[in-house]
Assembly symmetry: D2
C-alpha cells in the first residue's frame, strides 16, 4: 500500500468501507440543559453496535432554546439501524424507557423524510386513554399525563434515506496513553460535525474486529492483524515500533457528513500526533466487497 | 390511610412493595477514572426497567485503586434481572459491547456467590484462539488481545441471592422544579448507600405506572391516581394543592440495602422539603399482592 | 413603570445599565479537551466581580482543533477589568498560576487590538533564561521549559476597545426552584452568544446589590427592594406573589454582544417561564446616572 | 541517592519537604449537589499557590445531607494561607464573591479550633442591617436577606493548628501522555484521603520550580533539573530515557493527612505505572533547610 503524509504523519492510501443504514433523529428537551443531558445519556447508552445492541445512537449536537418547539434546552440524538422495522422498534422502546421516564422531558422529531417512524403515536398508549392529541400546522403531538404534568411527544419522526454507518479511522502509535490522547482529539473533532455521531464509548473503539473467526459460528472476532501483542505473527499489519492502536467509528445521516467528520478527525489527529507518538493513520475495509460506501483517505487530505 | 410526620412533612403510613430479583455485580477499571466512567455510562445506559430493557443497572460506587485487582481506578456496577439466564445474557452482551470496546478497560467480578455467571468465559471467544487464561489463587481471568493491548476479563462473577428490585418513594408537592430538587437530593442520598442503585435517568422517574390498562393487552400504563392533570377525576390520590409528583426507585443486593437507601432518601427529602414545596411522601405498592418485600415507611422514620 | 409582554410574561419597560470596561481574550489549548477545561476552570475561578476579585472572567466558547494555532482542542476565555493596568496584572498572574502550571497547556492571544497586553512576554521569565523566542509571521511566542516539555505562550494579546460589563436581567417568580430553572435556561442561552460571558457561579447571581448602604463606608449592600423576606417594607419592588428573584449578569466584548446575549436570555426565559412560575422580567439600573450603556428591554422583544 | 522499589518502579530514597501553614475549612451547601459544586468550583478557582493567589484551596470531600446543618447536599472546602490574617482576608472575600452570590447556597464552619476566623460575622454586613442573628447551642449564624430568600452563613469557622502545605511527589517517565495518566491516578488516590487537597489544576503541576533564578529579583523559576528539554545540560536530574515529569502537590490539615495522601498516591502510581512508562518516583525538597516537615518516601512503601 502506498502512503501519503499529513502534518508529517504517514497516512495509508486506503479507504474506510461503510454501509447503508436506516437512520432517524429526535430532539429531546427538558426544563434545564442538565436534565436533557441525563435523559439523552440513558437513551444513547448500550448503543455501540447494531449487531449487539439493536441500534447505534449518539448525541449529535446541542439544540438551543430558540431552536426547539417548546423553547427549552435540547439535544439532538441520531439513531442508526439495519432497517426501518428494527429502527422503529428501538426508537419506541428507548423513548418509552429513557425519555418518557425522565423528569420534565419532551421528545420531538429531529429529521424530516417521507417515510415516517411512529414515536408519540406508540408511546401515547401509556396514557391509558387520558392522552390528548395536539396539532400545530403539519405536526402532530401527544400530551400524555404523567406525575410531573404531561409528557409531550411528537406523533412521528422521519426516516433518513442515504444514511451511512461505519466510517472509520485507525490511529497507530507508540504507546497507549499517547494514542488515546490522539483518538480523543480526533473523536471530538468528528463529533463536532453536524449529522454525525460516534457510537462507541467516548467515540473510540479498541476492540477492532474482523468478520468471522477460526472456529465456525462466530460473527466477529479480534482483528489480530492490529493487535500489538500478536505483532510477531504472520498476518500482522503492525511494524515493530507500534505499541497501540485505536479506532474511531462514525455514523452519519449522509455520506457527506461522514466524509466531513473523517476529514476533521484526520486533520486534528495528525496536528497533535507527533507529540503523542502517532506514527500512522489508516482505515478499515473489507476489500470493497461488503459495504456500499468507500471513503478514501487521499480525498480527505486537503 | 393514617399518616406520620418527619421533619414537619407528612409521611403516609404505607409501604413500598418490592420484588425478588436475580442480581450480580462487576468492577470496571481503566487507565484513568474518566475512562472507567465513560465505559460504565455506556454499560448502564438503556437499563431503566427490566421489562423494557432486559436489565436494570447502575453505578454502585467508586472503587479506589487500592481496592481493584489491577491497582487502577474503578467503578462497581450492579445489574438486576428476572432470572439467572436473562441476567447472564445481558451481562455478557453489555460487557462485549461497552467494556471490551472501551479504551484501556478491564472487567472483574464484583460479587461473590456460589452460583456463577460467565463473563470472561464467554467474551474470551472474541480473542479467536489468541486469548490466554490466567489464574491468581481461586480467581480465573482471560487476557484477550485487542488493539491497545489486552482486555483482561475475569472468567465469571457471582449471582447474588436475595436481591430486591423496586424499593421506592413518591414525593408530592406544589411545583415541578421544587419537587425535582427534592427528588435530586433524595436520589443522591439513596445512591450513596452501598449495594444499592437507582436505575432510572438521574435516579428519578416521573412516569409512575399501574399494572395493565383500560384496553386489554397493555402491560403497564400511567398511574392516573398520581397525575396532577387528572386531579379532578374519581380515583385521584392527589389533593388540590399537589402540582407535581416524582418517584425514586431503588434496587439493592439485599433488603437491608434497599431499606437503608429508602431511609437515607426519606430523611434527606424531608429535611430540604419545606423550602421546596414538598407536602407529602408516600410509597407505591400493589396491596401486598405481587411483591415479596414490604418496606414500611413508619420503620424508616428513626 | 409601564410594562410589555413576551411569551405571556410581563417584561418591565426599563433598561439594564452597563459600564465601559477594559477587556481581553485568550485561547487555552491542551493535549485533550478535558485538560483545556481543567485549566480554564482554574483560571476563571474567583472572578465574579471586578471589585472583589480584581477581574471578571469566563469561558466564551469551545475552540475546535482546526481553529487553534497548535491544532489542539481549546477554549476561549474573556477577561474584564477596570483598566488596562489592572487587567494586565490579573492576566499575567492567572496565566502564571493556572495555565503555566496545568499539564500540556498552551496559551494564545484571543483578541486583536492595537493596544497590547503582555502575556508570554512576562510569564517567560519563569524560564530563567532557558526560554526561547519564536516568531510566526506577525505573531511572537515563547517556549518556556517545564517538566512535561515546553509551555508555549504567545508574547501578548490585544486590548479590546468598547467592551461592556454589567448587562443584566432579573427574573421574578413564585418559588426558588422554578426561578432557578428559568435562570439556568436564560444563562445558557446568553452564554451561547459569542463574545459574551456570565461571570457569576453558573452564570447566575442571587445577591443583587445596591450602591452603598445605611452605614457609611460600605461599597455595596443587599438590594433590599428585591429581597422576598423584606417584601412588606416600604421601598420593596416586589408584589405579594413574588417568592424568589434571580439575576444574570453579562459582560461582552461589545455592546452588540451584550445586547444579543440579553435578547437570547429574555426569549429563552419567557418561553419556559410560565410552567416555572416566572411572573415578571426586569433589569437593573441606576437611573442612567452611572453607566455609559443602556440596554432597553423593549428593544429586545423582537 | 540510593533507591527503593515499589511495584517494580524505582522510588528515590528522599523526602518531600513541606511547610507549616495556617488552614481552615468550610462546608458549602445548596438546594442540589450540582449547585454546591458550582459554588465550590468558583470558590476554589485561582487558588493554586499562596504566593500567587493569596490562598491554596480545594474540595476535600462530598458531605451527604445527613451530615450538614441544613440537611442539604454539601461539600467541604479546605483553605491554606501563610498566616491567620491572610487566610482570614481570603476567606471573607471568597465567601462574599463566590458563595453569597451563588443561588441557594449556605456556608458553615468546616473546622473546629480555638482560634476563630470570622465568616458570617463579616459577610453579614452585606445585609445592610436587615440581617438577623441566630444561635443553635454553641453555634452562631447570620441570615442575610438576598433575592432568593436568605443566605445563611455561620458566624465564624476555626483555625486549624498544625496544617501542612507542600507535600509532593514527582513522577518521571517516558512520555507525556503516559505520565499524565499516572499523575491522574495518583492525584485521585490522594484526593480521596480526608483532610487533604491538591490545589493545582486537576491536582497536577507541570511547572515545577526552584527558589529564585539566575537574574536577581525573581521569586521562583523553572526547575531546570527536571525539564526534559534541558536534559543534556549540567545539573540535569534526568537520565536519557526520561521524556516527561509531572508533580502532585498536597496540602493537609495535619502531617498525618499529608502522609496518608502521599502514601495512597505512591501506591496507586506505581501500581499502574509500568504500563504507562513510569520509570521513577521522587519528591521535591530544599535539602531540609526551608520546611518544617519531611515526608520520607521510604516510610510510605508499606
Amino acid at each position: 500500500m502506498s502512503s501519503l503524509t499529513l502534518n508529517g504523519i504517514v497516512v495509508d492510501d486506503t479507504f474506510a468501507e461503510a454501509f447503508g443504514m436506516a437512520a432517524t433523529a429526535i430532539v429531546v428537551t427538558a426544563a434545564t440543559r442538565r436534565w436533557a443531558e441525563i435523559a439523552a445519556a440513558s437513551f444513547t447508552g448500550f448503543a455501540t453496535s447494531v449487531i449487539g445492541c439493536g441500534v447505534e445512537a449518539g448525541i449529535d449536537r446541542m439544540v438551543l432554546p430558540d431552536e426547539t418547539p417548546d423553547g427549552r434546552p435540547g439535544l439532538r440524538i441520531l439513531l442508526f439501524g439495519f432497517d426501518h422495522e428494527g429502527l422503529s422498534r428501538q426508537l419506541v422502546r428507548r423513548v418509552g424507557q429513557c425519555i418518557l421516564t425522565s423528569p420534565s422531558s419532551a421528545c420531538y422529531a429531529g429529521a424530516a423524510g417521507r417515510t415516517r417512524l411512529k414515536m408519540g403515536g406508540s408511546v401515547r398508549h401509556f396514557g391509558d386513554g387520558h392522552e390528548v392529541a395536539k396539532r400545530y400546522g403539519e405536526r402532530r403531538f401527544w400530551r400524555v399525563p404523567v406525575m410531573d404534568g404531561e409528557f409531550v411527544c411528537e406523533h412521528e419522526t422521519g426516516l433518513v434515506e442515504g444514511a451511512v454507518g461505519g466510517g472509520n479511522l485507525l490511529f497507530l502509535g507508540r504507546e497507549d496513553a499517547g494514542i488515546l490522547a490522539v483518538a480523543e482529539v480526533a473523536a471530538e473533532a468528528a463529533a463536532a460535525v453536524d449529522d454525525a455521531i460516534l457510537p462507541f464509548p467516548g467515540g473510540i473503539v479498541r476492540s477492532g474486529s474482523k468478520v468471522g473467526g477460526r472456529s465456525g459460528g462466530i460473527v466477529a472476532s479480534t482483528n489480530d492483524a492490529y493487535c500489538p501483542t500478536l505483532k510477531g505473527r504472520p498476518g500482522s499489519a503492525l511494524s515493530r515500533e507500534i505499541g497501540s492502536v485505536l479506532e474511531i467509528v462514525i455514523d452519519g445521516l449522509s455520506s457527506t457528513a461522514v466524509s466531513a467528520a473523517m476529514r476533521a478527525a484526520l486533520h486534528a489527529a495528525t496536528s497533535v500526533g507527533a507529540a503523542q507518538g502517532l506514527l500512522r493513520v489508516t482505515a478499515g475495509n473489507y476489500g470493497g466487497r461488503l459495504g456500499k460506501f468507500q471513503f478514501h483517505l487521499k480525498d480527505l487530505l486537503a
